[in-house]
C-alpha cells in the first residue's frame, strides 16, 4: 500500500512549523506564499541554515547547498520539498 501523498499546502505548513520555532517573535499568520521569506520576515542567513537543519532533523530531508535558493519562498519550498517528502514516505 502506498503512503498518501502530501499536498503542497501540507508541505508549506511543515515549513511554517519550522519557521515558527526558529523565528518565534514573528507573526506567521499572513505569510505570502509567493514572496521571498527574507523579504517579509526577520530571517538571516543563519536562520536559513536552521531551516535546512530542521528539515534534516525532523524529516530526514537533505537540502544540498546548491538547492538553497529553492527554499526562498513558501511556494518554491513546496515545489521543491513536496516530492522529497513523498519520496521518503514511499520508502517507509
Amino acid at each position: 500500500m502506498s503512503a498518501p501523498s502530501m499536498t503542497k499546502d501540507e508541505c508549506k505548513q511543515r515549513v511554517i512549523d519550522i519557521i515558527a520555532d526558529i523565528a518565534p517573535d514573528e507573526d506567521l499568520s499572513n505569510v505570502k506564499s509567493d514572496v521571498k521569506l527574507r523579504d517579509q520576515l526577520q530571517i538571516d542567513s543563519m536562520d536559513f541554515l536552521d531551516i535546512v537543519m530542521e528539515l534534516r532533523k525532523r524529516h530526514g530531508i537533505e537540502v544540498p547547498e546548491a538547492d538553497y535558493p529553492q527554499l526562498a519562498s513558501l511556494d518554491s519550498s513546496a515545489e521543491y520539498l513536496t516530492p522529497k517528502f513523498n519520496a521518503l514516505a514511499a520508502k517507509r
Binding site: A23, P24, D25
Partner: protein, 412 residues
C-alpha cells in the same frame, strides 16, 4: 604615578535570591536563600543557585534562542546597570564604552548541549549546530552585550576561574585609568548550572555539596559543610572616572580603593594561604589603608572542608587580633557559588552597608568549625556596626589565581 579616581555609578545583577540590588540586599538581610534542587543531566537532583530574572525584558525570543545563557545574563545585568546609572548611551560615542566581563569558563554548556543533541542522531556531526562557534567563543557574553546595546568599544571576557568577577571590575578600572574608555561595564557572569560537567567534576573531586534541604546545602565555616553549591548569576557595574561622574551628577555607590591579583604557582586546585594573604595585604597597601581600616571582609569561602580553613588562615594572618572593627562574612551561604559572577555579586551584596551600616551574615552555621572561628565573623544574624568605610572582597580560583578588591566609601 597620579591615577584617576574610579567610582561605581550603576549596578545591575541577577542572583539566585534577587534580580536587583535592592531585592538581593533584602534577601541577604532576611536570611533568604536562593538555592533549590535542580535536575542535572545524567546526575539527578542537586542543589543549585538558579536565577529567575525576566530574560525577555531586554531580548526577543529569537535572540534568546540564538544566544547563550551567559549572554542573556550579561545583557540583563548590563541593561539594568545602565538604567541604574542614568547614563544615556545615545548621547555619547559608543566606541568609548568598554565591556569587560569575567567568566569562570565559557562554552561548556553549549558544547554539552550539542553533544547531547547529536547523540540522538547516532553522533552524526551533520546535526551539529552552526551556532556552536559564535556561542562558544570566549568573548560571547561581552559580544552579546555589544550587539544588544550597539556598543562599539572594546568588549571581551576575562577568564579567571572563580576570581573572574573581581577581575572584570579591576580590569574595567584599569582601562578607565589608562584612558582607553570613558565608561566601563565590568563584572562577572556565570551560566554554570546548565553544564553537568561542573557538577560531575566537583563530585569527582569530593567537593560537591549535598543536603536534604537545598537551602542548607551551602554552609561555609560550618563543621558539617560538605562542598560547593553550583550557581548561576551575574553582576555588572558601571564604572567611571570621578570627574565624569561628578560632571553628570551621578549617584556614586563607592570608590575603587585598591586591588591585587596574584598567583599561587603551587597547585591546580589546592589553595595557597600564603599567596592569598599576600594578595590581601597588597590590595590593602594599594588602597593606602591598614588592615584595621577594613570594616567588612567578604570571604571567598566555598564550603569545601579544606578551602575554608585555608582562607581563614590567610585572613587570620592579615587581620589577626588587632582589627576590632573588621567584620567578616560570606555571601555564598545564601546563593551558592556563582563562579565567574561570585566576586562581583558578593561585593554588590555588601555595598549597601556603606549606607545602612549593617553587615549581612554568613548563614547556615549551625556549628562553627573551630578552625574557621575568626574574630569578627558575623554568624547567622545581620550585625549593625558603627562604621563601614572600606569593604574588601576576596575571590580565588583554580590554577591558583587570587584576587582582592577593596571598595571605599565615597568621600568627595
Amino acid at each position: 604615578m597620579q591615577t584617576a579616581r574610579i567610582v561605581i555609578t550603576g549596578i545591575g545583577l541577577t542572583a539566585p535570591n534577587g534580580n536587583s540590588l535592592a531585592e538581593f540586599r533584602r534577601s541577604l538581610l532576611n536570611g533568604v536563600s536562593g538555592v533549590e534542587n535542580k535536575e542535572v543531566r545524567y546526575m539527578g537532583q542537586w542543589p543549585a543557585g538558579v536565577c529567575h530574572y525576566d530574560a525577555l525584558k531586554y531580548q526577543t525570543k529569537k535572540e534568546l534562542r540564538v544566544g547563550t545563557r551567559a549572554g542573556s545574563i550579561s545583557i540583563y545585568c548590563a541593561r539594568e546597570a545602565l538604567a541604574d546609572s542614568g547614563l544615556d548611551l545615545g548621547s555619547r560615542p559608543t566606541d568609548r564604552v568598554g565591556i569587560y566581563i569575567g567568566c569562570t569558563e565559557h562554552g561548556n554548556v553549549e558544547t554539552e548541549n550539542e553533544v547531547y543533541a547529536i547523540s540522538k542522531f547516532g553522533y552524526d556531526t551533520k546535526f551539529w549546530s552552526h551556532y556552536h562557534n559564535p556561542r562558544t567563543v570566549a568573548n560571547n557574553p561581552s559580544g552579546e552585550v555589544s550587539l544588544n546595546l550597539g556598543i562599539t568599544g572594546p568588549a571581551y571576557t576575562i577568564g579567571a576561574a572563580c576570581a573572574a568577577g573581581n577581575l572584570g571590575l579591576i580590569h574595567a578600572a584599569q582601562m578607565l585609568r589608562l584612558g582607553e574608555v570613558d565608561c566601563a561595564i565590568g563584572g562577572g557572569v556565570s551560566e554554570s548550572i546548565h553544564t553537568f560537567g561542573i557538577f560531575a567534576g566537583f563530585r569527582s573531586q569530593g567537593a560537591l555539596a549535598s543536603h536534604a534541604d537545598p537551602k542548607k546545602a551551602s554552609r561555609p565555616f560550618d563543621k558539617a559543610r560538605n562542598g560547593i553549591v553550583v550557581s548561576e548569576g551575574g553582576c555588572l557595574y558601571i564604572l567611571e572616572r570621578l570627574e565624569d561622574a561628578q560632571t553628570r551628577g551621578a549617584k556614586i555607590y563607592g570608590e575603587i580603593g585598591g586591588y591585587c591579583v596574584n598567583s599561587d604557582a603551587s597547585d591546580y586546585v589546592l589553595p595557597n594561604p600564603t599567596r592569598q594573604a599576600e594578595c590581601v595585604r597588597r590590595a590593602i597597601r594599594h588602597a593606602g589603608l591598614e588592615p584595621r581600616d577594613i570594616h567588612i571582609v567578604n570571604t571567598h569561602a566555598t564550603a569545601t572542608p579544606q578551602g575554608d580553613i585555608q582562607e581563614c588562615e590567610a585572613i587570620r594572618a592579615v587581620f589577626g587580633e588587632g582589627c576590632p572593627d573588621t567584620h567578616i562574612n560570606n555571601t555564598k551561604s545564601f546563593i551558592g557559588h556563582a563562579m565567574g559572577a561570585a566576586g562581583a555579586l558578593e561585593l554588590a551584596g555588601n555595598l549597601p552597608a556603606f549606607n545602612d551600616l549593617v553587615v549581612h551574615p554568613t548563614m547556615n552555621v549551625d556549628e562553627l568549625d573551630p578552625a574557621c572561628a575568626l574574630p569578627g565573623l558575623v554568624l547567622n544574624q545581620p550585625k549593625r556596626v558603627g562604621r563601614v568605610d572600606a569593604i574588601l572582597n576576596n575571590s580565588f580560583g583554580m590554577l591558583g589565581i587570587n584576587s582582592t578588591l577593596i571598595v571605599k566609601r565615597f568621600v568627595p
